[in-house]
Amino acid sequence: MSSVLYDVPGPRAKARNTVLTIISLIGLAAGLWYVYDALDQKNEWAGEKWKPFTTSDVWENFLIPGIEAQLKAFAFSSVLAIAFGLVFGVLRMSTNRWVRTAAGAVIEFFRAVPLLILMFFVYFGAQPLLGTTFDPLVAVVVGLTLYNGSVLAEVVRAGVNALPKGQSEAGLSIGMRPQQVMNFILLPQGLRAMLPAVIAQLVVVMKDSSLGYIIGYTELVRQVSYLSQYLLQASIVVALIFLVINLSLSGLAVWVEKRLRTKGHTSAVVTVAPNIGEQGGGGA
């Protein structure tokens, strides 16, 4: 669509574009050179600071455990968040007004409170309130589940509401009870449509799990602190790792969306990753 904004460039436009390109290139190169040079003065490009990352020791002892911890938090939180989202999403659409409002309040609460605050509460509150201490992993998983589960609940609701009304009307008219309509007709179709949005939210889960570092969970960002001799290098390597993991996840979401679009044999409209802003929700 954006290509409709401008015609195929004529000679004057081409000239102007070239000028703009050259200016931008110079600006970019200058910026990059400045960064490179400043870091060079502090010896950050020195081979010995980067070499550890080519050895398997650093990977085995720091980076891979960090990635594993990240994936562990991600796996638990994803499953639980999806479960939470399904349960509360359905509750939110209940025909019973009290159930609806209560579920709505829970969902709005967890969406309004920052993820870090939730994690602090679970982690520091465990001792005084429950008399036991939790591994930071538990606090991270609980926090992520509650927050992302609430967002997913809204996704479920949006997905089901996007279905043509005819579906539920037909179900009701053949004598099904509302709960059966939900379970047999609406949810199956809605879930397929919501899949891209769900996967997009899982990317958020992955990113947010790095907040656990603030409560001492030894995930990937915390491992950077351990490599105190090569802080900057470690952080660059870790940033690259995150890029790879998250871009793959997002790519998966896009691929799923494409496949559903072409293959769809439900009447559900496939939701584009909705609420683009939501993807940053609640945490890193």
Partner: protein, 272 residues
Amino acid sequence: MRIKQTLAAIAGTALALSLAACGDDEPAGGGGGDSITIGIKFDQPGLGFKEADGTFSGFDVDMARYIAEGLGYAEDKIEFKETVSANREVFLEQGQVDIVLATYSITDERKAKVDFAGPYYIAGQDLLVRADEDSITGPESLNGKTLCSVTGSTSAQRVKDEHADEVQLLEQDSYSRCVDALRAGQVDALTTDDIILAGFAEQNPGEFKVVGAPFSEENYGVGLPLGDDELRTEINDLIEAAFEDGAWEAAFNDNLGNSGYTLPSPPAVDRY
């Protein structure tokens, strides 16, 4: 119905799995008699540090090995686990570690939850500054300067309250970040126990120095579960032996010998 059941089943399994796995995260402490799990720090060079190749080094670590061997454990039966400051008591109470040597100060408050053998070192709160810094000679000279410390430690606040109320405080979540800031000139000093500072001075030769005017006293002890008097006596004996046969001195010199920090005389063990 089928969907609900399947969903419930999935949710239930996930819950069960996660709880079970959570349980596995905390393996039963020392595993009985044949191996010993020792809680140490992983991020304090010269004291308790996990090297890039996965081995552990430091004064606490060497003392820990000495004690473990003295208790009869072979080198390969010693397992090190990270105990950050906040969970030292908890790990001992839960049995996740058998003993703790992690710059663990003996306080009466803590004695209510755990027992201590030692002290095996007396440290004091001090300041780390850049090697060429001459204007900082003690906590009083920090007025108008910036002081870094780690979240959760009371050191910096104590300096501000008791010594220099115009100091600017910065909190970071790890010592290495404070050291980074000190090196770059963004902060003027870092405060915590002097032996920890010595470790950082050693790790970065020539860049930093410990001011050398400690303004508090911290007795480092070996943390043990409450009530194990027999173990406590054994460890106290081993600590005194280390003082005498040079192992304590060697542990210090091996790890902190180049820090510019002088070895004090060994403390008196407190057998309460």
